[in-house]
Symmetry: C3
Subunit: 451 residues, 3 copies
């Protein structure tokens, strides 16, 4: 049974009104700025510190999975802790220092204390010769490596001398952490909203996604909803795998899902479909993006990217897509120190937030109308639903919404079907459908539209 959408939010208030306000972009930006400086990786104190800051907004529960735990084909690695790391010249000057920028240290670098000539050190140094002022982001999970990332100009300025290399890290049994919050709705069926929490100081990828979801969860937690909403903040790949291993059966409850990542830049928006390609979330996001922006892109699924890779593996095949602004890997700031707090903007964060809210509106409010008067058109005029003076050049948008709904109200078309076929916005259709239902012209066909 469908619940009346009116029950989803406080009486007389739309879901959108309850979730969006003019300061939302600033609120997300502010939280992203707070978590930006923290050095995160797939394990370690940075993840926990970040979860602590998010918890001020959303009542996250933290899960810890011990190192060595088998999760499907993978093993939870030792926990990585950085106490400091630098390269020092003979004059005792730190020429590269993790304290200056946490991208300087290759993620999961093992401890090192050695003196070596630049020629040997160079084999452990990563730069971007084509972007000589930027520090690249590199990791070395699941291998016993170490390294530094430098701006290429910084490397070129180093004389061919001996250098002392100090990497003061520990790689010891500990645990992997993730945080999650379940907002229970009428149904135990879930809408998964997930952001990866394993990247260090990269503002767009993915402080933007973490902050957006925390702010959304904060507001959504106050509302009654049809679906349950699961907010997940887990390290990329290994965190999603660990979560799925711990929720192998429960994953079936995920009826819709969005990975939210890189949602603060000026590009896109971009939606990458789930492996299914025709899931409701795929149709909803396609509709939402097409109406939101002429520059939007809809991509077919491909098995590379973020944690949709795991949710869409053949053994799960869940309806989980990916929302971004610019597509990962397609912009010069990607995975460099230029992905900083200047690269993301409150206005883009607010626009991305609005897209997610629109998708939520669709899954919450979709239903299948059945016309009470299916033979010929009902007379809208006598019900005040039609301009009384005919002969005008075109009916307004609202009139077209009435006509589309009544024409397709055979109990087989959902409101989203109608929005797609009419090219009208889902919100226009759903507002008109509410009015037609209030006037007794349509009823709910009784089957949940998106089941």
């Amino acid at each position: 049974m469908r619940s009346a959408s009116a029950r989803a939010v406080p009486e007389g208030q739309s879901l959108r009104t309850a979730l969006v306000d003019p300061a939302i972009g600033e609120a997300i930006y502010s939280l992203a700025s707070e978590i930006y400086p923290i050095c995160r990786s797939i394990t370690g104190p940075g993840v926990r510190e970040t979860l602590g800051l998010l918890r001020r907004h959303i009542p996250i529960q933290t899960q810890e999975v011990p190192s060595g735990t088998i999760v499907f084909d993978w093993t939870i690695p030792n926990e990585w802790v950085v106490h400091g790391a630098f390269i020092r010249n003979a004059a005792g000057e730190k020429v590269v220092d993790f304290a200056d920028h946490n991208l300087h240290l290759v993620g999961y670098s093992r401890p090192v204390h050695a003196v070596m000539p630049l020629a040997e050190l160079r084999r452990h140094i990563h730069t971007l010769p084509d972007q000589p002022d930027l520090i690249p982001y590199r990791t070395a999970y699941y291998s016993e490596q170490w390294g530094f990332c430098l701006a290429h100009r910084q490397l070129e300025a180093l004389p061919e001398r001996l250098y002392e290399v100090v990497i003061d890290t520990t790689l010891q049994p500990g645990s992997l952490s993730w945080g999650e919050y379940l907002h229970s709705g009428e149904s135990t069926e879930e809408f998964l909203l997930s952001a990866h929490i394993c990247h260090p100081s990269l503002a767009n990828d993915n402080c933007s996604g973490l902050a957006l979801l925390a702010v959304l969860g904060e507001r959504l937690s106050r509302l009654s909803t049809r679906y349950s909403y699961r907010f997940l903040f887990a390290p990329g790949t290994i965190g999603a795998i660990a979560w799925l291993a711990a929720n192998e059966a429960g994953a079936e409850r995920i009826r819709h899902g969005l990975i939210v990542s890189g949602v603060g830049d000026a590009g896109g928006p971009t939606y990458k479909k789930s492996r299914r390609g025709d899931a409701l979330i795929d149709r909803a996001m396609t509709h939402v993006l097409r109406h939101a922006s002429a520059s939007s892109s809809i991509l077919e699924f491909f098995p590379y990217g973020y944690d949709e890779r795991q949710y869409c593996s053949p053994g799960f095949n869940l309806p989980v897509g990916l929302l971004q602004r610019s597509q990962f890997g397609t912009f010069p700031e990607y995975h460099t120190s230029a992905d900083d707090l200047d690269f993301i903007k409150p206005e883009h964060l607010a626009a991305s937030y609005s897209l997610v809210v629109s998708a939520i509106e669709i899954v919450e409010k979709d239903w299948q109308p059945l016309s009470v008067l299916p033979k010929c058109e009902p007379q809208l005029g006598k019900r005040g639903l039609y301009d009384a003076v005919g002969g005008r050049r075109a009916g307004p948008v609202e009139s077209m919404a009435f006509l589309w709904i009544l024409n397709l109200a055979d109990g087989k078309h959902s409101l989203l079907d109608m929005a797609e076929r009419s090219k009208l916005a889902f919100s226009t259709i759903t507002d008109a459908a509410d009015l037609l239902r209030d006037r007794g012209l349509i009823v709910d066909a009784g089957n949940r539209a998106n089941d």
Copy 2:
């Protein structure tokens, strides 16, 4: 069982030859000119007078439905009769007069006799400021309003004085009229051809459609056909609804349908599909228009327009599309006094007529061939069906038609399927199929193609 198409028309004469002649455009134009001056509305003497003129060509039976009759969600309104209407200035001059142009009076205006200043009168005056020389067309059905339509320059020329307004109309119980003619074919299944009869002096919309169908009906009535053909001349919306209410069960016999409206201007042609989108009439008209003109447009169904709205309501969902030249609402003359007898031309009327005849040819003549020699190609040369000297650069169109038919003659493809796949005209395919059947190379698979 399929009837041989040879029985449909006098021996040795094609359906097209029997229906089309070089003077057809002039004949339609002449009839349109006769009915153009009449002031029609959804009820009243203008409809009956128009039916009387059409009856000189086609044996229309008139139906009258009393005011107050409930037809689905609607009620037949009081009958509207205009005796005269004008605006007179203090000098006694009629500055606006219904006798000059019947568009001056808003349709269904209630009786008025009053004196008022221009400021008050202006609230009842409709003009087109962007087209200052044209009188707009406006109606006020189902409301107690009144008004005048003026060229904007005419309004601007009126001094701010007192004016006497006289609208000598009656709105009293009477009846709504429609006319129909059923040409009985072999089958009781029907092809509906309908034009709205409720617009006053608008030549394209819809004197053109009324005249085209009357002339077509005149010629078709002399032929034997596979299908029965129902010609319907009814007021827009309420007339179609009244007809459907009176024929609720019989409507199922409609297997193909065309609303014919605005078929005399230089634009288009335009075909708007039925709600089904893949009905035979949709495929036939798509084929016909694509072969007729590079400027043709095929539109998907949308629930705004002419009486296809009623036939395609979800409780009927009949295969009824709309044929026009320019799409309604897209040209400056639409619903103005510029839609006059100069706006329509015999040549365009003849071209539209030919499109309808082509659609009739398809539904009459379509069938599903079965090859008698399905293994390898039959030898066309020994039957005189192939150029005897081979090695030419390309086979002519007729040879390609033979080859396509024989290749697809598996009893599952209709001639229209073959025309679509080969991109050859249906007439080319059907002529070739007749020849192949005469030579005994194909037989009728026995199932009516378009059932």
Copy 3:
């Protein structure tokens, strides 16, 4: 049960390595040059002489079908033998001589010995006024005609005198010949490879196809394959019809087929689909051509062309397509004396050969993987299948192949499905799949992919 592809070729050698070498284009060109001068027709000694030259490469068995034999709707004609043909002027000079170019004589010309003025002779002369230096190719099968083909300039140079016409041909009961070779594979299901052998001195059409298939058969005969491969060298139309009549039941074994014709010129490549349109050979050739060349064209089936017309007749409907470079009839050299040994090139022959080998690779090597670890991605890094340093801008092609295969390895997708969806080359996918199978990550789902 699927056979491991490793068994198809000598241990450690790919099918492509076993079939292709750098000299392949020259080998095909050389054989095409040998058979070019022979005057072939649909019957007669030219076909047998050509089969004799092909037999040096591939163990062809010759079939002879007597004149008068009924083959479906056709009858094997009398055998045509040319002893000589010329036009001689009053001075005793041969102004046109079959000995100079076998295109000078219209194929199947009946014997003639007569003296006539040019005015009368002209009715039997074919030229190309728009290409005045070229001799056209013309035939007159199944009719009692005769004629000469001349360069238009040659005709224009002839004075209006009397000429002696001598056509020393015989048209007597004999037989129609074709050659075929069956390479038996594990399965009795067949891949048909066919070229027409009835054209006289036309290098591209079809010395190129005959030579390509003979050279391919020579190399394929040394390998073990999954499928059986039938090589057929038969006269166009009547030869294919005779073969199908003799193999009416056996034709069902043809699971894939290619007509190979005009594969030596610089254009295309062009693949014309089978009547089915979605057969594996259609998908395979579409994939192969799209990856081979930006100038490739894929055409939907149409019932005109080469012997695919017979194989795709509705009573057989076999999955047989057509491979060409330039499409027949679209280039000025088509069916003229300009289709000579300068018009074809070893490099184009080699490229066409490679396309056929690629199609063979697909049908031989396609299978449906099933992931052993379908829940989440397997850890490629610990198996040495993934770059150990992450964070790079993009995974290399091989990594993408691994990810696509693992993502789609649900037992329902074949390797070709994966190649199509990923847009990666089939060879990239199959190499990656071999590696994943060797590492135990996928197994064969057990059903032959292309059954």
